[in-house]
Symmetry: C2
Subunit: 401 residues, 2 copies
């Protein structure tokens, strides 16, 4: 069996943890499996390097920033390889480019174009454990690129896809995917299995277990994922195409506070207004999530939509000129909001998921500002201060009934 294992920065933060990872890896190798390990930079290394750069140039080019940050994983792969050597196992570390990661040239958030796993394969053939630097690759100009935050998950899935690995294990500081954040909701349950689509909704909605791009890639190439703990040797949560029905209507309740609500009041009620608004937002490379349009009694209309919190300024800037031109009454944004969602493939066949959620929120006295639904989720926008209370109330309604 070929297993790809990925460990994040906190799993390799110091000598002790690096040795712990070496034990997990060599245990699997000893069982006779081929093992490829993808690691991130140690603990705060990336932040420390960013800090160093800012001291010298607050606006250094992204190319040089990628050159700088890629040093972080270089350190961690060498240290992990030495820890594995110390336990007496054959091992080799490979940088992103040595492992065959070819990316486009969008420095700081490059996309993997393909993985050419020749060197990985050659090393596995020699029965070596292969330690690969996550988060980094090489573009067509032979410049070092990075995949952006969370990119190591994607690196691991990309290797698993390119090599048709049997399993891609993502080690984190939680034991798996839960029905809600276990630090906030004590009754949250760990899921045995979840589908790619459910996981995607949960990741997008701020569950922060897996990087979104990595789940998309796993779905596309049919890579079976497992989310599990690097500290506790218990089974995690499997992410796959079809998950076992666990007699649960929904899989989880997620909270996302990285949201800003943009409001345009008093737009003329004419055709094509929405198109003009959202094409301007799209041109500014801002993702829009929930959209609400309402017609007022005075014959004008209001448009409200949500964007990532740090894009509120940019969204307003992109729309200011247009709103002035058409004589909108006001254009503003508000960051004191949060999105709470329930996710589950099962809700397609069950009516009443939304109403059960709304009932729970009403009982908890949480006011709903906006609503958005898809086949496998229901999201509501509420005041940020109500978010934790809303998650608990909704979780209780679905899982503790």
């Amino acid at each position: 069996m070929l297993v790809v294992k990925k460990f994040g920065g906190s799993s390799v933060a110091n000598a002790e943890r690096v040795m712990n990872v070496a034990r997990i890896v060599t245990d699997t190798y000893r069982e006779g499996h081929d093992v490829v390990v993808v690691v991130s930079a140690q603990g705060d290394t990336t932040d420390d390097l960013i800090e160093k750069a800012k001291e010298i140039n607050p606006k250094g080019s992204k190319r040089e920033m990628d050159m700088l940050l890629a040093a972080g994983e270089q350190i961690s792969i060498a240290l992990l390889a030495m820890a594995i050597e110390n336990m007496g196992f054959p091992v080799i570390s490979l940088l992103g480019w040595q492992a065959g990661f070819q990316t486009n040239s969008t420095y700081s958030s490059a996309r993997i174009k393909r993985v050419n796993p020749e060197r990985i394969r050659a090393a596995l053939d020699k029965r070596k454990i292969v330690v690969v630097a996550g988060f980094q690759g090489l573009n067509r100009y032979e410049d070092v690129t990075t995949l952006g935050r969370g990119g190591s998950d994607t690196s691991a899935v990309a290797i698993a896809a390119a090599m048709h690995a049997d399993l891609c294990q993502i080690y984190t500081d939680v034991e798996g995917v839960y029905t809600a954040d276990p630090r906030k909701v004590p009754d949250a349950r760990k899921l045995q299995e979840i589908t790619y689509d459910e996981m995607l909704e949960l990741a997008t909605l701020g569950a922060q277990v897996l990087n979104n791009r990595s789940v998309e890639m796993a779905k596309k190439y049919g890579v079976e994922l497992e989310v599990l703990s690097s500290m506790k040797a218990v089974p995690g949560t499997k992410v796959k195409e079809v998950a076992k029905m666990e007699e649960m209507l929904i899989k989880g309740v997620a909270k996302d506070t990285n949201v800003a609500r943009v409001m345009i009041v008093g737009l003329p009620d004419e055709p094509g207004i929405a198109f003009k608004i959202f094409s301007r937002v799209a041109k500014a490379h801002i993702n829009v999530d929930i959209i609400l349009q309402s017609v007022g009694r005075d014959g004008t209309k209001d448009i409200t939509f949500t964007v990532p919190q740090d894009k509120g300024d940019e969204a307003v800037a992109a729309l200011q000129e247009y709103c002035d031109m058409v004589g909108a009454k006001s254009l503003s944004y508000d960051t004191s909001v949060a999105k709470v969602s329930v996710v589950g493939a099962g809700m397609e066949t069950h009516e009443g998921t939304a109403s059960l959620m709304f009932e729970a929120l009403a009982a908890a006295n949480v006011n709903i500002q906006m609503i958005s639904t898809s086949e496998i989720k229901v999201s509501v926008l509420i005041a940020a201060e109500d978010a934790d209370r809303a998650v608990s109330a909704v979780h209780k309604a679905f899982f503790e009934a």
Copy 2:
């Protein structure tokens, strides 16, 4: 004019110093020159990385150690490039392999096989300042290698040689090459020029201004070097094939305390003994410097020679069996010695250099244990505790007469 500039770890130790280097570099660029800058890892980075590795595995493989250490220069080139960007100049940083450094596979002390400066040339053609990671390269297996301590000097000279640079400037924390260590001998004078051969003797003898390999390479390819200060903008010392005669008999007085004296007493007085001794030492990859052989009155002979201080143990280990076999009376080594030398191409044509040195040592009451001479130097082995006093006395005799 194409100028290669090299800055060591202390010259880029923090943000302020990185910005200072950026100023020096851009000043030269502004004068219309093409500039390639070679930098080492910041300050203690290399030592810190070694420390991290030791915590995990005191005997990590050299391959992984090179992978680890190469991250150090990666950080410094990115930071320096960002500092130059911040001053508004076009710049690009390149890792050893990107700059075309091909080495052999002796990890930790790789030799440069060739430099393929295509990318450097392309960047210079676009009028960019090119910042190159010193100390590192790539072997034929596409693995990262390092050149060993002081290797960044060699990197700079190799680029200068490959690109036929007009000048290779090595920036240090001293203002140039002195007639003696200026921290120990207040009257030491800075030299305007010195020949490669003289510099080689001084480097070998512990003057610690330039890495030896870099001077050898500069001599071989006729690269004109300049040693100068990164803190004070004054002319340094030029190192070239023929140096101006500055009416000095010698160029400098150097002290080397990295010496151990190995003594074998009571060897049989037969032909071939010396060959058998030194072939064993050579097989153990230990460099021998001064050799003294003497025949005792009892028909046995003694052999004494010097090796680098940390090789004393190994030298004795390499000889123990043989010495036992031939019945030598004793085999031991002593590290409380130092080598003091005078160096200068001028002494070839002057008799009396050695006698002037011996006279000065005698007047200072310094006992000479061993003597070695070449065309351009005279070295004596003395007690380590006498070394500083000996240097002062000899320097006074030659320069303050």
